[in-house]
Amino acid sequence: MVMTRVLPRSRTSRLRVPRMSALTWSGLVLLLLFLLLAVVGPLVAGTSTARTGDTLAAPGAAHLFGTDHLQRDLFARTAEGARVSLLVAVAGVGFGLVVAVPAGLVAGYFGGRWPDDLIMRILEALQALPLFVFALFVIGVTGTGDSQIGPVTLTSTTKVVLLLGVGFIPYFARVTRSATLVEVQEDYVDALRVVGVPRWRIIAGEILVNVLPPVLVQAFLWIGVAIFAESALSFLGLGIQPPQPSLGNILGDATGYMLLGAWWYSIIPGLVILVATIGFNLVGDGLGDALDADNRR
């Protein structure tokens, strides 16, 4: 037999500037603004707890975002708060992923069989508990300060990270599970079993790489949600505790001063939360579209 030598087609570049919608562009602008504030802001601003001598000063040349009732510079506090909120949100989403992705992979791989049932029932139980009720309960029991659990000290910030993560686990696990359910239908899963590849290696080495992109897109979207949720918790006093600023607790401090005419005190951190949430959502949507387009190719 004559072996035909088939030449491979030229490799098309995988790196291309994706076509983005106007919404994605505006999301990207908002996101960059927020990141500028959260990352660069704390470096250029002074300490967030220093007293400036001006009480409730309006935004101006001296104080870009004005000052609060304790004479603290609100630009420094908002920037530091944005940094903290972002870190807490990313850590919360990360913690959620670390638990949810393995759970979703296992559930999806055994779709319909008992490991799937077990994992899904646990997730449903978790989801049945609203995040804020759960947070109230946890903070009610452990208090707003540091808690000592065995050798581990949980600061209020760590507690927020864990609460957010636990709240997100059911959603991330579901996304992972449904992507996995589709993936295990692919013939390569059977082919690898026939070759003798152990089950855990098929899941962790082969299925994971295909499941991760859509899950990470979802996770990115949820960073915006996490910033919003962190702000809400901190606003209610259940989250990050003063003097550490967060976008939510600045907003919480500001209640009441609106009526005294200090509009900047609540409007500016509120806008930052809005910008962050919308930014992450729009860019996340854009990433999802790009991924779909990539899959169709």
């Binding site: 035909t4 088939v6 491979p8 003798g196 082969e206």
Partner: protein, 317 residues
């Protein structure tokens, strides 16, 4: 010793019905025995849904037989290196985010073959050359490679663990006509060079004609006719085999009208001969008595009550 020996294989799937109702049982494979002599190819042919793919899954131990046993070179235990699978859809059979090098290296790594890094890399290239592909393919992912080439890669992957038997489950069904012949030639060539035995599962009669030494015609979970490929293809005896072959257009021959009706449900197979509901030759007895596979005088086995009457094939089926 035969390469593969299957003894009274059965695979029944239980379908849970909702509350109250009784579970239904699908008799996907319902008592099938065969033997593949070493170095030979057995083609199992039949319409889709007849259970032939279930046999493939049992042979490569993706599904456990409900009853019966499978011996590969005389051994009954699971030996992943003894028997390998080539499936229908090469795009799905390869991980789209992994390189072809990875696909070929993995079987070697799992079984600890060629532990030396350079030797393993050389073996991967050797496998690729074995199926007529060049080194350029190593770093590529399935995305930009054509179906025929990808199917060669899945053949190479199956051969990586040095099996003596390949199960080919519709290996050409998703390929372009022009590429089918290339793959068939490759499979014939590999069989000769490596001394492989094949179990070919297909509904494409032409492919079976090219590859098979022996044929088993399957209908609704059972074999209706088995024997030497040339004899069966040139003079099919069972009415189902005749209908199946007559539906294929040949040189100077229009395809006959395909069989009427659907394949009956495998949950409640027809009484008597399972084919009697669609058989043009059926008589009353066919609905009552289930025919066994009986040897014919030329060595083949036919499961038909009227096999003797059909010895001199009627012109029309």
């Amino acid at each position: 010793m035969s390469a593969v020996r299957a003894e009274d294989l059965r695979k029944h799937y239980r379908i849970r019905s909702g509350r109250g109702g009784e579970d239904r049982v699908v008799h996907a494979v319902d008592g099938v025995s065969f033997e593949v002599p070493e170095g030979r190819t057995l083609a199992i042919i039949g319409e889709s849904g007849c259970g032939k793919s279930t046999i493939a899954r049992m042979l490569v131990r993706l599904a456990e037989p409900t009853e019966g046993r499978i011996l590969v070179h005389g051994a009954e235990g699971v030996d992943r290196r003894a028997i390998q699978l080539v499936s229908q859809n090469p795009w799905s059979a390869l991980n789209r985010r992994k390189s072809i090098r990875h696909a070929l290296e993995q079987p070697l790594a799992v079984h600890g073959l060629y532990p030396d890094k350079a030797a393993r890399a050389a073996r991967v290239r050797e496998l690729l050359h074995l199926v007529g592909l060049t080194d350029e393919y190593l770093g590529r992912r399935p995305g930009g490679v054509s179906g025929g080439e990808l199917q060669r890669v899945t053949v190479a992957r199956a051969l990586a663990v040095e099996p003596r038997v390949l199960v080919l489950d519709e290996p050409t069904a998703s390929l372009d006509v022009s590429v089918k012949a290339l793959l068939v030639n490759l499979l014939l060539d590999l069989k000769r060079r490596l001394g492989l035995s094949y179990v070919l599962i297909t509904h494409e009669i032409d492919i079976a004609r090219h590859l098979a030494d022996e044929v088993a015609v399957m209908y609704l979970g059972r074999f209706v006719e088995t024997g030497d490929a040339e004899r069966i293809f040139s003079a099919p005896r069972h009415p189902y085999t005749r209908a199946l072959l007559a539906a294929v257009p040949g040189p100077g021959r229009e395809p006959a009208a395909p069989l009427q009706g659907e394949v009956p449900s495998a949950v409640a197979p027809p009484s008597g001969c399972r084919f009697h509901t669609r058989c043009p030759m059926a008589v009353d007895a066919c609905a009552r008595t289930e025919p066994a596979l009986e040897p014919d005088q030329d060595g083949r086995l036919v499961a038909c009550l009227r096999a003797d009457e059909l010895l001199s094939p009627a012109e029309t089926v």
